[in-house]
């Protein structure tokens, strides 16, 4: 397995998967916020997108702008095969950790 994805990296990659052809910066920020149920800094999402693209997990292309953006282009992201593998590995790792346990946990053991 290559680098293990962090939780925030998974949230960003899964947002790209969910948004399909509409996966551009602002939409990804909104999707991540909705899934994590908290406000997320745009800078954190953009830094993560840049890092994932540098690792080859995402590719990007520039699209056209709109008047509300003062004509500035949108950058659309797309998952690459390495990104799919990384997400599958991350899911398998979590499934392994939970294997044999019922979810949700009813009562945590507090004594050895």
């Amino acid at each position: 397995m290559a680098d293990v994805l962090g939780a925030f990296e998974q949230a960003v990659l899964l947002a790209v998967v969910r948004l399909r052809d509409d996966a551009y910066g602002r939409a990804i920020v909104q999707e991540v916020q909705a899934r994590l149920e908290r406000e997320v800094a745009a800078g954190a999402v953009h830094a993560t997108l840049e890092r994932l693209a540098r690792k080859g997990l995402l590719s990007s292309r520039l699209g056209s702008g709109t008047p509300v953006r003062a004509g500035r282009p949108r950058r659309y992201y797309r998952l690459q095969p390495a990104g799919i593998r990384a997400l599958n590995d991350a899911r398998a790792a979590v499934d392994n950790l939970w294997h044999g346990l019922k979810w949700p946990l009813i009562k945590a053991r507090t004594t050895a």
């Binding site: 551009y24 745009a42 800078g43 509300v68 953006r69 949108r74 950058r75």
Partner: protein
Amino acid sequence: MTRKREGQVTPPRWAEWLLRLTLKRADRESVSGDLLEEYRDTVVPARGQSRADAWYLRQVAGFMWRATWVWAVLFSGAFVIRQAVDFFIPTHEFYVRSLWTTYTAIALLAATSFWSAWRSGSFIAGIVVTIVMTQIAAVLSVTGVTLLLAIWHDPATLKAAADSGGIEEAYVMPFIMIVPALIVGTIAATIGSVGRKVMRVDGV
């Protein structure tokens, strides 16, 4: 007062200018466009303009922090280490220590400015990011020195601190770094932005 441009509300111009300085050249239009779209479409209608402006400034501060924190931690780390050496290994001969500290500071200022100018393709970005970095580093340095003195404040350490320039210097010096930041930053930013053009990084 409502600011309008092209018939739509806009965030503070200076904040947008600052944001664009912190971004890579390739992302400048798309990322500033994302924030502008969110500001106009979602934040202003939901919170009103003054709170939307505050939201925008927080976003810009986040981008600025990400562009500077590594350099600021290195810069303040060098300063706090120098102070710790002066406090715990007293000497009357500061020449070699000063030489090391000075060259380390110059190298970090130059690296910050060169890197910022190179990635943004902007001479001004190199200088502004370096100046902001020194002031973040100053706050970190003062915090670090305060922690040192809070833990070790025996008479011997306080005497060593006084002999090495005084505690006042440890609290004032980090903020004065804005002056060398301006000088070194200007030179390194020139090299960074011109170097990018000469190397034809943008394919022009």
